[in-house]
């Protein structure tokens, strides 16, 4: 098991040997690809610029496990979202990634939106989703009693779920590493010297040179920049910001489904959704920017969200806000993913994974490995992946602080350190000792929820920091 964060890179596992495949970018997509590659007896590296997996777009999204009912029929995205959604739901059950199949309601607030619902139902049909059903105003009110006045009806999409966006890439990375993949963090790739026939590519990183026969670009927002390193200029990534508000757990009772807006001429609109952590999410905005690091929130964005949230669920505005965040989608001007294999270059670009990458990740992994095989990579026989069981961050599933048997075996699970999120000393200790340990307090938060609750550290911040510093010394 190899995870490196500093020092010179190992030049392939054996002396003089290059990696068979290197995946650049350890977001949810890159981690899924690395995990899929780990099924074969290949030497695989996963290389990431930042200090942790899932630090890019993958940590800041809306956390919906989509069915793909509203994708563009016939597109690659439609197929991979549909496949990926099923794969991830099954994988989550197997590994303990929290998923709650709460279902979605596309709520119509005016006649025009109401008139659009049958069209959306027909689109869902074309995408293979036969479970949608119209809901009248009266039934809607019993399904969602706190909905604001004026809702005329809805389309129910029963299979839409909410998922934990932090555990997902972490589970993939953990499984990949345990199955033999080398994960190199804090290792931005700055240049690529493409290899000719029979010679490996040379990736120039801040930590030295890494040689690899095949190369996968899973650089998210920077997929265009990475393409440029190998001389490809097929598309441009425009960051599309989404700002979100997380409301307190005490608001969770206000909403039972994912409340989706009906897409219209004025854009996609914001949704209100439960989170697997027991909070309520409001967002995201959609703003096209030119700065790929602009993950800040703005006063205008937050005001607009509150105005829209107040119409959907008026009582939400009386509840406390726990956190504000923003993520960037990798928009490319196309209504589909930008996935391209360049067999001559032994190179695959997995780009433009805009707003559905979490859902599609496992299918993207499979698809990419297929493209690599088509490009000449010999996969050899499959072998089983190392098993993983992820710690549960989901409120709908047993958490350690409520598990009497576990506390009896190990009292550290009875010692709550972060009270708002009920995170125990045992869980923090486990995270620090895990296969892919956190590099920062934020990384620890994404693994345990510590410091992520309503007090944001007022009560526990100092204690959690001390545990983190002792544990990473």
């Amino acid at each position: 098991m190899t995870v490196t964060r500093r020092g010179a890179l190992p030049d392939g596992p054996g002396p003089g040997a290059a990696y068979d495949v290197t995946v650049v970018g350890a977001g949810v997509v890159g981690c899924a690809i690395a995990r899929e590659l780990a099924r074969y007896s290949l030497r695989v590296a996963l290389v990431e610029a930042s200090g942790d997996v899932g630090e890019g777009s993958s940590k800041a999204n809306t956390a919906i496990l989509h069915t793909g009912f509203d994708a563009v029929p016939g597109s690659l995205e439609a197929r991979l979202v549909r496949e990926g959604g099923r794969l991830l739901a099954a994988y989550a059950r197997e590994t303990g990634i929290p998923v709650e199949p709460v279902g979605a309601l596309l709520v119509a607030w005016d006649e025009e939106q109401l008139a659009a619902l049958p069209r959306l139902a027909a689109k869902a049909e074309r995408n293979g989703h036969h479970g949608t059903r119209p809901v009248g105003a009266a039934e809607l009110r019993t399904l969602e009693p706190h909905l604001g006045p004026g809702a005329l009806g809805a389309l129910a999409v029963p299979d839409e779920s909410v998922v934990c966006p932090w555990t997902t890439p972490l589970a993939y990375a953990t499984q990949a590493v345990r199955s033999g993949v080398d994960l190199h963090l804090d290792c931005p790739v700055e240049k690529v010297r493409p290899g000719g026939p029979g010679t490996p590519h040379r990736l120039i990183t801040r930590r030295g040179v890494l040689r690899t026969r095949y190369l996968v670009n899973a650089c998210g927002l920077y997929a265009d920049a990475f393409d440029a390193l190998v001389g490809r200029y097929d598309f441009t990534v425009t960051p599309r910001r989404g700002q979100l508000l997380v409301f307190d757990k005490l608001a969770r009772g206000l909403v039972r489904h994912i409340l989706l807006p009906v897409p219209g001429v004025l854009g996609k609109g914001v949704l209100v959704a439960p989170t697997v952590y027991g909070n309520v999410l409001l967002g995201p905005t959609a703003e096209d920017l030119d700065d790929k690091t602009a993950t800040g929130s703005t006063a205008e964005g937050l005001a607009a969200l509150r105005a829209q949230g107040g119409r959907i669920l008026p009582a939400l505005l009386d509840e406390e806000v726990t956190a504000v965040y923003a993520g960037l989608r990798a928009a490319t001007g196309a209504e589909d993913y930008r996935i391209a294999a360049h067999p001559g270059l032994r190179y695959v670009t997995v780009g433009g994974i805009r707003s559905t990458g979490l859902t599609a990740s496992l299918a993207l992994g499979r698809h990419t490995v297929g493209l690599l095989a088509d490009a000449g990579l010999e996969l050899g026989p499959e072998r089983p992946l190392a098993p993983v069981t992820m710690p549960n961050l989901g409120e709908a599933f047993p958490r350690p602080y409520r598990d009497a048997a576990r506390i009896a075996r190990d009292p550290a699970y009875g010692e709550i350190v972060c009270h708002c999120e009920r995170v125990t000393r045992g869980e923090i200790r486990d995270a620090l000792a895990s296969t892919v340990p956190p590099a920062s307090l934020d990384g620890l938060r994404r693994r345990t929820r510590a410091r992520g609750g309503r007090c944001q550290g007022f009560s526990c911040g100092a204690a959690v920091r001390v545990l983190f510093e002792e544990g990473t010394r």
Binding site: V246, K249, L250, T293, T295, G296, S297, T298, A299, G301, L302, R306, L317, D318, E320, V321, T322, A323, V324, Y325, Y401, R402, A404, I407, A408, P411, A412, G414, E415, I416, H419, C420, R422, S440, L441, D442, R454, C455, Q456, G457, F458, S459, G461, A462, A463, R465, V466
Partner: protein
């Protein structure tokens, strides 16, 4: 494990400990205090040099714990109440295991916290270096965190006395306080460069905070360079347990609605201290802890639980009133002004009947509660409408409320 006690007190801060000491001394039977932290004492544990009469905060906390234990109360640390398993049964997690503790009376004394940056909707990036006073004080006073770990140049946000405590704590740790950004144009004495009437409108910095954008009283904005920012004050009661237990909250205080004897509308459940309305000095919380004892003893002796009583409605320049319902004479009523006013007029009416009227001497300020005489509470008609308590300013220009778009 299932257990029964006579009185279960949640929270071993000044309020809970004072209640425990008084009740145990009065022979209330088994009086147990649950504290989720490793050490009892509540917030004063980390107020190294706060004004706690003759004591430092930690000294005050130790004394309060000793007094409760000496009186015969059981003070358990590392035991967090996480929910309810019945009307008077709490679920508890501790290293020794899970418990369900049923009490004949439950006293909630869970304190208050500061609203963090996110809850204040301060936009910008999400860098490291953002603290609240609670975390800052604990880092420095309980864990000995030194300057290198906190930062070099800090900005303190807030205009309540706690901003002063935060600035002091920073200085003691060797951190330069670049400015205190106080949203109110006037207020308590604050140390060092103070920007009055100013607000922080954005945080800037990748990874680590590099500055805060401040909008001044004149409406102009500028960047203040700093690597640490401390958001102080803006209190909210720690009301999770109360709410999940079905205890109705008061819309103005966001704490449990209580009567003058600290009874909530849920029979057998009492609430005291900062849980009721955010932060008051520790002596106030401790006094409420002592005062609740009489009603708890009455409850144990079988006294009936009073009905909802008459609601108290704060109006005019009042932010809140506590207690929020009257079921009989009140020994004290705390009132919190929303504005700074000179010699304001206080009127108490019920159904157009004036129960009390007085011009308050001097200055009232939003960081300090008022405690007017309460003789009038005996004249409240228990079958009448809400008691309206109103504060009206004269003379001084009212100051705008702090810039927060909260509905309550």
């Amino acid at each position: 494990m299932e257990r029964a006690v006579d009185v279960l007190i949640v929270g071993a801060g000044p309020a809970g400990l004072a209640a425990a000491a008084r009740l145990a001394a009065a022979g209330a039977g088994r009086v147990e205090v649950l504290e989720r932290e490793r050490t009892a004492g509540g917030v004063p544990r980390h107020c190294a040099r706060g004004g706690f009469g003759a004591f430092t905060g930690p000294g005050y906390a130790r004394r309060a714990v000793r007094a409760a234990v000496r009186a015969g109360a059981v003070v358990r640390t590392g035991a967090g109440a996480t929910g309810w398993a019945g009307p008077l049964t709490l679920e508890v997690t501790a290293p020794t295991g899970l418990e369900r503790i049923t009490a004949r009376a439950v006293v909630l004394a869970t304190g208050a916290r500061e609203r963090p940056r996110g809850a204040r909707l301060v936009p910008g990036s999400r860098p490291a270096g953002v603290f609240g006073t609670g975390e800052l004080q604990q880092s420095v006073e309980l864990f000995g965190l030194r300057r290198e770990r906190i930062g070099r140049r800090a900005v303190v946000v807030g205009s309540e006395p706690v901003a002063r405590h935060a600035a002091r704590t920073l200085r003691r740790a060797g951190v330069t306080v670049a400015a205190v950004v106080a949203d109110r144009p006037r207020g308590p004495r604050l140390p060092g460069p103070v920007l009055r009437g100013a607000t922080v409108v954005e945080l800037v910095g990748r990874g680590r905070l590099s500055g805060v954008v401040v909008r001044g009283a004149d409406g102009r904005t500028g960047l203040l360079r700093c690597d640490t920012v401390v958001f102080t004050g803006d209190w909210i009661p720690e009301h999770e347990l109360a709410r999940t237990g079905g205890v109705p909250l008061d819309r103005a205080t966001l704490g449990p609605a209580v009567d003058p004897a600290f009874r909530t509308p849920v029979p057998g459940v009492f609430a005291v201290g900062n849980l009721l309305r955010g932060v008051e000095p520790a002596v106030v919380a401790a006094a409420e802890g002592r005062a609740v004892a009489a009603a708890v003893l009455a409850r144990l002796a079988g006294a009936p639980w009073p009905g909802p009583g008459v609601p108290v409605a704060p109006e005019g320049a009042l932010r809140w009133a506590s207690p929020n319902r009257l079921t009989g004479p009140a020994p004290a009523v705390l009132l919190r002004p929303a504005d700074r006013l000179v010699r304001p007029l206080l009127t108490v009416t019920q159904d157009d009947r004036i129960l009390y009227e007085a011009r308050l001497p001097g200055l009232v300020e939003p960081h300090r509660s008022l405690r007017p005489p309460t003789g009038w509470t005996a004249d409240v008609d228990p079958a009448g409408g809400p008691v309206v308590i109103r504060l009206d300013g004269t003379g001084a220009r009212p100051t705008p409320a702090p810039a927060r778009s909260r509905p309550h």
